[in-house]
C-alpha cells in the first residue's frame, strides 16, 4: 500500500483545509478512502453515530499536482483508513500560506498519515513542519459497509434557504425541544417545526424552488402543496448546519416521508451528502 500526494497551489490548499475543517465538525472519527481518481471522507450509519451517515467526495486532480497511490491489491486498488478528523484539520492549520503540502502514508512505529508543510521563513529559507497522524488501516472485509449510500427516491426535493439563517433558527429551537420536524413541498415551501406541551413554533421558508423532478410519472397526480415530513433529532441537524461555515454552491434537501432527510451539497467542486434518519 502506498500513497503520496502534493499540493502547491494556495487556493487548492485553502479549499482542502476548509473541507477538512467541515469534516472535523461533522464527524469525530471518519474513514478516508483513497482511490486513483478520488478522495472520500466517509461516515457510515453505525449505531454509534446515531444512524447519521456522510459521504464526501472530491476529485484528486482538482487539488493535487502530484498524486500516487497503490491500493491493497491490483483488483482492489483502494485504501481505506480510519482517522480522527480533528487531527487532519489541526495539521492543515499550519498550512496557511504554505509553499507546499505533502501527504503520505508512512509507518512510524504505527501506521500514520504524515502531513508535511513547507513554510517560507522571513529570510526566505524554508522550514518544514511535520505532523504524524495515527491511522488505522481498514481491512478489505469491512469495505462493504463503507460504500456510497444508495439515495432513495425522495418524496420531496427542495433547495435549502441560506444555511446561516437556517442554523440560527434551529439553534434557538434547540432550547425548546430535541425533536424537530422538517417538512417541505414541491411548491418551494420548507417548514421547521417544534412542539412541546406548552408551545409550538414553526418557521416558514418560502419561494425556495424545487429541482426538476426525476420521474414525471410518479409525481404528476400529486398535489404540489402536499408536505413530506420527517421527524429528526435537532442536535444532529444542528451539527450538520454548524459544519457549513461557508454557504455552499448548491444545497438540496431530499425528504423521504417519515424515513429520512438527505442533504446534498456542493462546495465548489466537492460534494457532500449527509443522511439523518427519522426518529423512531
Amino acid at each position: 500500500m502506498k500513497f503520496r500526494a502534493k499540493i502547491v497551489d494556495g487556493a487548492c490548499l485553502n479549499h482542502f483545509t476548509r473541507i477538512s475543517n467541515m469534516i472535523a465538525k461533522l464527524a469525530k472519527t471518519c474513514t478516508l478512502r483513497i482511490s486513483p481518481d478520488k478522495l472520500n471522507f466517509i461516515l457510515c450509519d453505525k449505531l454509534a453515530n446515531g444512524g447519521v451517515s456522510m459521504w464526501c467526495e472530491l476529485e484528486q486532480e482538482n487539488f493535487f499536482n502530484e498524486f500516487q497511490m497503490e491500493g491493497v491489491s491490483a483488483e482492489n486498488n483502494e485504501i481505506y483508513l480510519e482517522l480522527t478528523s480533528e487531527n487532519l484539520s489541526r495539521a492543515l492549520k499550519t498550512a496557511q500560506n504554505a509553499r507546499a503540502l505533502k501527504i503520505k502514508l508512512t509507518n512510524k512505529h504505527f501506521p500514520c498519515l504524515t502531513v508535511s508543510v513547507e513554510l517560507l521563513s522571513m529570510s526566505s529559507s524554508s522550514r518544514i513542519v511535520t505532523h504524524d497522524i495515527p491511522i488505522k488501516v481498514i481491512p478489505r472485509k469491512l469495505w462493504k459497509d463503507l460504500q456510497e449510500p444508495v439515495v432513495p427516491d425522495p418524496d420531496v426535493s427542495i433547495y435549502l434557504p441560506v444555511l446561516k439563517t437556517m442554523k440560527s433558527v434551529v439553534e434557538k429551537m434547540k432550547n425548546i425541544s430535541n425533536h424537530l420536524v422538517i417538512e417541505a413541498n414541491l411548491d418551494g415551501e420548507l417548514n421547521l417545526k417544534i412542539e412541546t406541551e406548552l408551545v409550538c413554533v414553526t418557521t416558514h421558508f418560502k419561494d425556495l424552488g424545487n429541482p426538476p423532478l426525476a420521474s414525471e410519472s410518479t409525481h404528476q397526480d400529486r398535489n404540489v402543496e402536499h408536505m413530506a415530513e420527517v421527524h429528526v433529532d435537532i442536535r444532529k441537524l444542528l451539527q450538520f448546519l454548524a459544519g457549513q461555515q461557508v454557504n455552499p454552491t448548491k444545497a438540496l434537501c431530499n425528504i423521504v416521508n417519515n424515513k429520512m432527510v438527505h442533504f446534498d451539497l456542493l462546495h465548489e467542486d466537492v460534494s457532500l451528502q449527509y443522511f439523518i434518519p427519522a426518529l423512531s
Binding site: C200, V201, T203, H204
Partner: protein
C-alpha cells in the same frame, strides 16, 4: 406596559390578556425601540434591532382557552409561535397604599446608575435610610471587606423632590432589588417611597425615543432582621 394594559382593560369582556413579569421585561426592551399599532385583533410591533434589520412582530389572543399567537417576520422568513395559556396565578399584592406613605423622594436616575452597578455583591442586603435629618438619603452595603455608605443630601442637584417625615432605616435583600436595576438603567427619574410597614415602592419613569412616557413599578418585602441604629 401600562399603555397597553390600559387599552385592554377597557374592553374587559373581549380580552383577558395576562402578561407575566418576565414577558413584560422582554417586551419592554423591544418596546423601547418600537412602533406600536394596537388593533382589535392584536398588537403589531415593528422593531429595528441593532443590526438594522426589520423584525415585524404581531401578538394575537382570541380569548379564554385559545393559545397566544406570536408572529415574527424577518427577511421574508415567518415564524409562528403558539403558546398554550395557563390559568393565571394570583399576582402578589403588596398592598402598598399611597395614603400610608411615610417618606418619598424623587431622584434623577443618573445619580443612581453607577451606585447600583457597583453595589457590593458580597453584601446580602441594601440598607436604605430616609430621614428628615442628616444623612437624609443613604444607601449602605455591608460586605466582607467592610461597609460602604452613599449619602445624597436633600439639596443635591439630583434630588427633585424630598418629603421625609420620619427616619426609616430598612434593609432589603440585594438579590430582590437587582432585577429592578434594568428599569433603573432605562429610566430618567426614580421615585422611592416607603410606607408605614417599611415596604418600599420604586417607580421608574422611562421615556422612549418618541417621547412617550411609561412607568415600571417595583415592590418587594423588607428584610425581617431589624438593623441596629447607625450613627
Amino acid at each position: 406596559m401600562p399603555l397597553l394594559t390600559q387599552q385592554i382593560q377597557d374592553e374587559d369582556d373581549q380580552y383577558s390578556l395576562v402578561a407575566s413579569l418576565d414577558n413584560v421585561r422582554n417586551l419592554s426592551t423591544i418596546l423601547k425601540h418600537a412602533t406600536c399599532l394596537a388593533t382589535k385583533n392584536g398588537i403589531k410591533v415593528t422593531v429595528e434591532n441593532a443590526k438594522w434589520t426589520l423584525t415585524a412582530f404581531r401578538m394575537c389572543y382570541q380569548g379564554y382557552g385559545y393559545p397566544l399567537m406570536l408572529f415574527l417576520e424577518e427577511g421574508g422568513v415567518v415564524t409562528v409561535c403558539k403558546i398554550n395559556t395557563q390559568e393565571p396565578e394570583e399576582t402578589l399584592d403588596f398592598d402598598f397604599c399611597s395614603t400610608s406613605v411615610i417618606n418619598k423622594i424623587i431622584l434623577q436616575s443618573e445619580g443612581l446608575h453607577e451606585v447600583f452597578s457597583e453595589l457590593d455583591m458580597k453584601s446580602e442586603v441594601l440598607q436604605i435610610t430616609m430621614s428628615p435629618d442628616k444623612p437624609y438619603f443613604r444607601l449602605s452595603t455591608f460586605g466582607n471587606a467592610g461597609s460602604s455608605h452613599l449619602d445624597y443630601p436633600k439639596d443635591s442637584d439630583l434630588m427633585e423632590a424630598f418629603h421625609c417625615n420620619q427616619t426609616q432605616v430598612n434593609r432589603y435583600k440585594i438579590s430582590l432589588l437587582k432585577p429592578s436595576t434594568k428599569a433603573l438603567v432605562l429610566s430618567c427619574k426614580v421615585s422611592i417611597r416607603t410606607d408605614n410597614r417599611d415596604f418600599p415602592s420604586l417607580q421608574y419613569m422611562i421615556r422612549n425615543e418618541d417621547g412617550q412616557i411609561c412607568f415600571v413599578e417595583y415592590y418587594c418585602c423588607p428584610d425581617e432582621e431589624v438593623p441596629e441604629s447607625e450613627s
